[in-house]
């Protein structure tokens, strides 16, 4: 009950904010009868209406994970963001092995298989991407290769 109500409330505010920012869209000299504002406002209105329905008639709550699971989900997001950031400066192999290993550990909970999975995924995918698919991946940081 509460989950749907909270979500409905959040989407209601987002929808209202969306409508408010849609009214600020600049129109140019090229005008058509509908204009650039009308359709976004219409969408916002339908979304707001659906949010209200959700607040008034919520479904039963899903089973949310325990706080420990939330923590590991948060860690997973951090790992992915770090991976996204590291991919360019550090090359493919090291960040991929690290990120895949951590994710694997988070799923299985065992360290040694996770390390093996991380390293072999990193190497295997690199070979597939580089040689079978011909993508221009950089294996290591550019400074290591003397570039």
């Amino acid at each position: 009950m509460a989950s749907d109500r909270i979500f409905g409330l959040v989407t209601l505010f987002v929808a209202l904010g969306y409508i408010a920012s849609a009214t600020q869209i600049q129109t140019s000299f090229l005008v058509d009868p509908v204009g650039p504002k009308a359709f976004p406002i219409l969408i916002g209105a339908v979304a707001a209406l659906s949010s209200l329905v959700l607040i008034v008639r919520p479904d039963p709550d899903p089973t949310w994970p325990a706080w420990r699971t939330w923590l590991s989900l948060f860690v997973a997001v951090l790992v992915l963001v770090a991976y996204a950031k590291a991919l360019k400066p550090l090359g493919f192999l090291i960040p991929t092995a690290a990120a895949a290993g951590i994710l694997s550990y988070q799923i299985s909970g065992r360290i040694v298989p996770a390390i093996i999975a991380g390293v072999s995924l990193s190497l295997g995918l690199f070979l597939v991407f580089k040689y079978a698919l011909g993508l221009g991946l950089v294996p290591f940081p550019k400074s290591w290769l003397g570039l």
């Binding site: 989950s3 979500f7 989407t11 929808a15 969306y18 920012s21 849609a22 869209i25 600049q26 129109t27 140019s28 090229l30 005008v31 058509d32 009868p33 509908v34 650039p36 359709f39 976004p40 969408i43 916002g44 339908v46 979304a47 209406l49 659906s50 949010s51 329905v53 959700l54 008639r57 479904d59 899903p62 949310w64 994970p65 699971t69 590991s72 989900l73 997973a76 997001v77 992915l80 963001v81 996204a84 950031k85 991919l87 360019k88 990120a99 895949a100 994710l103 694997s104 550990y105 799923i107 299985s108 909970g109 999975a117 995924l121 990193s122 995918l125 698919l133 011909g134 993508l135 221009g136």
Partner: protein, 501 residues
């Protein structure tokens, strides 16, 4: 004789060694994707699109490869349904009902062969149906003006939302979310930026591939972290596979009927393969009656949903190719592929680029035979794939998603956006809000607004123009009915409970 000459054109493209090779690779990959639990047709096709694109394949080759993957995934979904009692993809859910009991009774091999043959019959008949029906529908589609297209898009959202969700408000919210995201970026008509919040990254809008891969593939990883990827061990033994000719012949009418039901369900916009297999199973169950023993592991209970599922997969290509409106989640992803390749689906596709359409149809016919070979005599290879544990599979899928998106745009911002969509997908699915309407909204939002604005330009701002033709009125009625009717049908069309050990 039009069809014959078109088919000849198609086969001249499809039988070239390169295209043939792509079709075989696609079938193989697709069957694996379908068989692996946690990697369904939608996210499987989604993570492969950026890679296909960066490979630099031309339009026909890319389309052949990806539709072969799509057909293959529909075949493969049954393998884990039968052996693990876990549907490899959503449409294969109904196959668990009789497939798993049959496997437990020591007839795993029979169940796999029967369902493989049923998949072939369903997919083959549906491809023939596609070949006959699509050109006809394409001619009708020439009559569609902007008012009709606007109503058609609305119909897609309404039926997809109505069928895919248990709560209409949630489906509507999901569609609005997608449409709202589609509005971000430079407005085509006025050339002014909209709702970008001043961010330069958002001027081009949100790339739908980023959203699709995030919502489908990255969100899946979060689910596996939550459940700690409870590894599924093979519960049943697979003995020597022999072909149960007697059962196949006993099921011939079931397969034909189920293919028909599935094909029609597939053509309906928004309904898709899940509904196809569901309706096929339920109708066969009521034809067989109490004595049919559905749910206890009878051959007809295995063939009906598989024929229905694969026929629906072919049927769903009809509205996608002729009207540009996808019939299911996976065809929505295929539509994304077409858009990435700069192909506008619709009636003009049939007249202007016949080599794409007919090459595709001919490839699908060939792919079907390849899939039959892979899924009946060689099925044991794919059974081995099931033993890939989730703690290798899911990190692998994530890394492929990252590399795919990164090789497409090379932008750190897009990767962050993809992670954001992954988080969104997790929350939405937790709250039982369907994610397919979000994708559809992002894909079709621009077209839908365009249709509305062009209609209003034509009529000088008169809203009555939207209801000015019989086609438009029919589509509006169908849209409203498709949205409202599931509320009342929900109690009648209850899904039968899954088999538990």
């Amino acid at each position: 004789m039009d069809i014959m000459s078109n088919l000849a054109l198609g086969f001249s493209i499809a039988l070239s060694p390169y295209t043939l090779m792509l079709a075989v690779i696609g079938c193989f990959l697709g069957t694996i994707i379908g068989a692996l639990p946690g990697l369904g047709p939608s996210n499987g096709v989604a993570i492969l699109i950026p890679l296909t694109f960066s490979l630099g394949l031309d339009a026909t080759s890319a389309l052949v490869l990806m539709t072969a993957v799509y057909y293959g995934a529909m075949y493969g979904g049954r393998i884990s349904s039968i052996l693990l009692n876990i549907p490899g993809d959503e449409p294969a859910l109904m196959t668990t009902l009789d497939g798993y009991p049959m496997a437990k009774a020591g007839r795993a091999g029979d169940a796999l062969v029967l369902s493989g043959v049923a998949s072939f019959v369903g997919a083959f008949l549906a491809t023939i149906g596609l070949m006959l029906l699509a050109p006809m529908l394409a001619r009708v589609a020439f009559l569609f003006g902007p008012a009709e297209y606007f109503a058609l898009y609305l119909l897609a959202f309404c039926t997809l939302g109505g069928m895919a969700s248990n709560n209409q408000a949630k489906a509507a919210l999901a569609s609005c979310l997608g449409l709202a995201i589609a509005m971000i970026g430079v407005d085509n008509n006025s050339g002014m930026p909209r709702l970008t919040g001043g961010s330069l990254h958002l001027m081009d809008g949100v790339d739908f591939l980023v959203a699709i891969v995030g919502l489908f593939a990255v969100a899946e990883v979060f689910f596996f972290i939550e459940s700690h990827g409870k590894s599924s061990s093979l519960g049943v033994k697979l003995e020597k596979v022999v072909i149960p000719w007697k059962d196949i012949f006993a099921c011939k009418w079931t397969m034909l009927r189920a293919s028909g039901v599935g094909f029609i369900a597939g053509i309906l916009p928004g309904a898709g393969a899940s509904l196809g297999s569901f309706l096929a199973y339920m109708s066969e169950k009521s034809i067989a009656g109490e004595k049919g023993g559905f749910g206890t592991g009878v051959p007809r209970g295995v063939t009906a949903p598989e024929a229905g599922n694969n026929a629906a997969a072919g049927g769903a290509l009809v509205p996608m190719l002729t009207l540009g409106v996808p019939g299911s989640g996976t065809t929505a992803v295929l539509l994304a592929l077409l858009m990435t390749l700069n192909i506008t689906p619709g009636p003009t596709l049939f007249t202007e680029r016949p080599e794409v359409v007919w090459g595709l149809i001919a490839s699908l016919l060939i792919a079907n035979f390849v899939l039959l070979l892979m899924n009946v005599p060689m099925v044991k290879i794919f059974v081995k794939v099931l033993s890939v544990p989730p703690w290798v599979l899911l990190p692998g899928v994530t890394m492929i998603s990252f590399v795919g998106i990164y090789s497409l745009s090379g932008s750190y911002f897009d990767l962050l956006l993809m992670i954001g969509f992954g988080m969104l997908g997790y929350v939405l699915r937790k709250l039982d809000i369907p994610t397919v309407p979000v994708i559809l909204g992002i894909l079709l939002g621009g077209h839908m607004e365009d249709a509305l604005r062009r209609a209003m330009v034509l009529s000088g701002g008169d809203a009555k123009y939207l209801f000015s033709s019989n086609i438009a009125i029919g589509l509006w009625i169908a849209a409203i009915a498709g949205f409202v009717a599931p509320m009342f049908l929900r109690n009648i069309l209850k899904k039968p409970p899954a088999v538990t050990d």
